[in-house]
């Protein structure tokens, strides 16, 4: 061990209680920060997983894309061409996709696409006896939908397969069913904007844990929804795709868009508002808990400053013995580094144990009625990168605090201190 390391270590060891308190401060900061990051990330992971269960990864929207004239000219490479500037194409009056089956076939042939389903979404009124309820009718091909989403797994009563088997079947969101007072086996009268009302039988109750689905959605066969909306049999409101890749969807999106010429949204874009909200909440939380870490790190600076003040005489004698300023700077920086590292290590350990504990014995709470997302359990993500990143940040803050303190140490003038004592 070098002289600098020996001096740093022995001086820390000489003041075990204040040093332990300082290290504990850093440990608390690191643990709180790590736990918070884990909790926030857990929430986003929970939300993303839930969304991925009920949503397609890519959605073809009824909005035709046309390249702007200027871009077309540039793509042709005609720098001297006179460009004709015109207004963008006016979108269809009715927001539907025509020729849906053909488009779906083209999309299914693309590499990386695991499933394609069609959706006809239209508002409807459901009546069970004398109780009418407004609902969002989702017309799907239940067999194809199984390849795209996991809605079929979320049927609490009845079954998805019953919907496949019966053209006059309907699956109700659990909240909607409660408001109607209807259950599996009951028959409803469903009317839409177009054709005459249809008599449908409840074959399942959906409990997705997502307010929009549970409270207001009724799933029916595609043709039923198209009929009730007054649409043609090849007309849908969106084409839903399941891709093998979940995160880096840009190449697939571009390919799908190029194939059909319609706008294609990723699941992240479709849920941008919610994801953005989580990010904002996360950022605010990180900032607040980050302050705990900064304050803890500054505690190291404070401890070192006190140690330097207490040890001015020792520093003076070390200088008199021939220790250079860089060597003394090294002693203080190493002390900051050691305390920061010890605090970060202890904090990571506490956080890891806490996360492991709550993952093993999760905190459960009752779902709020009508909530956008049923969050009934504290989800904690556990990624080694948190620990590494937060530990590095803690050590850097400690080092920064030590750098502030070190200036005092190297300013100690041996003669003034030694004379003062004498």
């Amino acid at each position: 061990m070098s002289a600098v390391a020996r001096l740093a270590w022995r001086q820390l060891r000489a003041a075990p209680r204040p040093v332990a308190l300082t290290v504990a401060g850093v440990a608390v900061g690191v643990a709180v920060f790590t736990f918070t990051v884990s909790m926030m990330d857990g929430l986003v992971v929970f939300f993303s997983e839930r969304i991925l269960k009920i949503s397609p990864t890519l959605t073809v929207m009824p909005e035709r894309l046309e390249a702007a004239p200027g871009r077309q000219a540039l793509q042709r490479g005609g720098a001297d061409e006179v460009l004709l500037l015109s207004r963008p194409a006016v979108p269809d009056q009715r927001p539907t996709l025509r020729g849906a089956q053909g488009l779906a076939t083209q999309l299914a042939a693309l590499p990386g696409i695991g499933g394609v389903s069609l959706l006809a979404a239209t508002p409807a009124v459901l009546a069970f006896g004398a109780v009418p309820e407004g609902a969002a009718l989702m017309g799907i091909d239940p067999a194809a939908e199984k390849q795209v989403t996991e809605l079929w797994r979320l049927v609490a009563r009845g079954s998805w397969d019953a919907l496949i088997a019966r053209r006059d079947g309907v699956i109700l969101g659990v909240g909607l069913a409660e408001r109607l007072g209807a259950d599996v086996g009951d028959r409803l009268l469903v009317s839409g904007e177009g054709a005459a009302a249809k008599d449908l039988e409840v074959v399942g109750i959906l409990s997705a844990g997502v307010g929009a689905l549970d409270e207001a959605t009724a799933l029916v066969h595609l043709s039923v929804a198209q009929g009730l909306a007054g649409w043609g049999s090849d007309e849908v409101s969106e084409i839903r795709l399941r891709t093998d890749e979940f995160t880096d969807l840009e190449p697939l999106r571009r390919r799908a868009r190029g194939t059909v010429g319609y706008r294609v949204d990723t699941w992240q874009e479709s849920n941008r508002a919610a994801l953005q909200l989580f990010r904002t909440i996360g950022l605010t939380t990180y900032l607040l808990t980050g302050f705990v870490l900064v304050v803890a790190g500054l505690g190291i600076g404070n401890r070192l400053a006190t140690m330097i003040l207490d040890r001015e005489r020792d520093i003076a004698i070390l200088r008199a013995c021939g220790f250079s300023r860089p060597a003394l700077r090294g002693v203080v920086l190493l002390q900051g580094l050691l305390m920061g590292f010890a605090g970060a290590l202890a904090g990571c350990l506490v956080a890891a144990l806490g996360i492991l504990y709550f993952q093993t014995f999760p905190i459960r709470f009752a779902a709020r009625e009508g909530a956008a997302l049923a969050y009934t359990e504290l989800y904690l993500a556990n990624d080694p990168r948190y620990y590494l990143l937060i530990a590095v940040v803690a050590v850097l803050i400690s080092l920064l605090a030590a750098l502030l303190a070190v200036r005092r140490a190297v300013r100690v003038a041996p003669v003034e201190v030694l004379r003062g004592v004498a």
């Binding site: 003076a316 004698i317 008199a320 250079s324 060597a327 041996p414 030694l418 004498a422």
Partner: protein
Amino acid sequence: MGWREPGSVPPREPGENAPVLQATDLVRRLGSGAAAREVLRGVDLTLHAGEFAALTGPSGSGKSTLLYLLGGLDRPDRGEVRIAGTPLSAVRDDDLARLRNRLVGFVYQFHFLLPEFSALDNVLMPLWARGGGRSRADRAWGTELLEWMGLGDKTGKLPRELSGGEQQRVAVARALVNRPQLLLADEPTGNLDSLNAQAVYQLFRRLHQEQGQTILVVTHDPRWAAASDRVLRLLDGRIVADERRPPGPAAHDNEGFDRGGS
């Protein structure tokens, strides 16, 4: 290992050698503004290898200030200090620390031992400062020094486990560990009882006699002065007397301490 490194010059009779220490026209002002005062007013001083000199004078005469300048711990406002021929004014602060480490040993009125290190580690501290002190040879040398100080059985003791006199003897060993050409001491017994003071004095005396160590001691204890080869008297920032005693240690060995030992 031993008192002299291989190839180093053996001790010679006082006055025979080139000066170890030379101070020319030293002026030092302390304080600032209206409170500023000239503590040293043009001090000239030369110390040759093997000399044992005492610097005396009343309190406030500038003894310690002069000693700190001579040891390179402080810089003069005017004048020059040369240690072993090196002018200190030309040396930067960190290089001065290295030079001090190599050429000068300093003993203070207080021992200033680092409390969390053993006696041996404290002795080896100046070697640590130059990247040494860890080899078996260095540790053996530190132990030899402590043995020479009569502390051979206390190498592993912490300063708080030693008496005041023992602590000061460890401090003397620390000052000697780099085999300095010059040993400076600022009232080394000022904080000790008479028994311990005598032990430390004996140590200095032996260092001078047996090892030919060049020593300058600041003291206002007349017994030190009586026992030294040369007595410099400082008054109001000037050396007003420079009295040389006959060479040879036998003439005044233990003089003063033995006679007036209290």
